[in-house]
Symmetry: C2
Subunit: 213 residues, 2 copies
DNA sequence: CACAAGGCTTATGTATACAGAACCACTGCC
DNA sequence: GGCAGTGGTTCTGTATACATAAGCCTTGTG
């Protein structure tokens, strides 16, 4: 693995996991020494982070970690609803029914994973990730898939703000199952509606459990 | 202006204007010498181009200019319809009516610009750009605006494939005026419909005039 | 005492030198 | 004659040294 990839992954995780707070200035020498690499690959990592919107260049004074306010979350979910709604509809039109039927079946059994504790809960997150990947593949639109991928980075960051209690996860699994079912049934409008519903519930939960400092 | 910005702008224009054909390998030393800069800022420029999707890294063998096929154009317009349709609807809800009424008025007078020849035609493109900018500002959603900006780079590239005859531009001006009118009227569904109509016509024109080699 | 100007410090931006890896061509062997 | 191995060349990836510019602190003056 290249040093720039290592630096990118490390900084990205630090930002997503809120170990690097918004507003933190990432000085090049400081970070390169912390990560044990030179300035050159670090600069490339910072470029990629800035392109993704996780950092911004503060007018010649280094790059700083971008903030995510409550309005940002609203904007984020507004775009997410647009993109993922369209994606779900396209997946219902173009996707393979058997694939999503399989995912629906697994999602219906997800509550047992969620209540089992942390290691099994990791499997649940993997299952949701497989649903996302299946939709990405089914839509046959690389530009839309790319747009959703760039959004998910910010969404993971937001998700860390909310408390992922078992109750919410169980409900989310049922909502995901409904999306998979609609796609498997080849019903675009239903798939979009199920996605809209899920995202609204998800946003409500984030805002309800978000604890302002 | 920084050397990396200069290199980025030069390469970006070269790709968009099809002076650098898809599949062209951009060797670092070759391009840095051509642009009269060192490898370091050139690498940053290539990173930005790759992040935008204009180039891709070809497995350790330099970066190559990405191809745009006919299927890519379909995918591109599918996403564009989703994003710009939503943006037009949001602008109708949140935008300032006077701003878009002014733009509608100017767009109705655009045919005189188009028929006047090349220098005035540049003014027309500027007018369309102002409509895009007004929508970007009206939606109050930086993530959606960012997603549309990243799309427009590819769209300019596609547009160069089509012959922008006066007839099509006159029709496009009328379609743009309809969008502005719907936004000024505060009618989200109408604004979205007008946008959908415009994009479909635009796509049809591109595909009709596209001359495969 | 406050404001401005100047120098110093420290940051980024750039260039270049070096190392490692991959591809291509050539040669030798089967 | 074909295939595989090896050597060379050339590329990218990385490190470091240097220049330039921006900020801040200090000092002097009004």
């Amino acid at each position: 693995m290249r040093a720039s990839d290592k630096a990118y992954a490390a900084l990205r995780d630090d930002i997503i996991e809120w170990r690097l707070a918004p507003g933190t200035v990432l000085a090049e020498v400081e970070q390169s020494e912390r990560l044990g690499i030179s300035r050159t690959p670090l600069r490339e990592a910072l470029s990629r982070l800035t392109a993704e919107g996780l950092t911004t260049t503060a007018g010649g004074r280094g790059v700083v970690v971008t903030d995510i306010s409550l309005e940002d979350i609203d904007e984020l979910f507004e775009l997410r609803e647009t993109l993922e709604g369209k994606a779900a509809a396209l997946a219902a039109e173009r996707g393979d029914a058997a694939t999503f039927e399989q995912l629906r079946s697994e999602l219906c059994q997800a509550p047992s994973l969620i209540s089992a504790g942390d290691p099994a809960r990791h499997d649940y997150y993997g299952l949701v990730g497989r649903l996302d990947a299946a939709i990405d593949a089914a839509i046959h639109n690389s530009y839309l898939a790319q747009a959703m991928r760039s959004l998910r980075v910010h969404l993971v960051r937001v998700r860390r703000l909310a408390a992922d209690d078992a109750e919410r996860l169980t409900a989310a699994a049922a909502e995901h199952a409904a999306i998979a079912e609609a796609i498997a049934a080849g019903n675009p409008r239903l798939a979009e509606a199920a996605t809209t519903l899920h995202l609204h519930r998800s946003l409500s939960h984030v805002k309800a459990t978000h604890t302002p400092q």
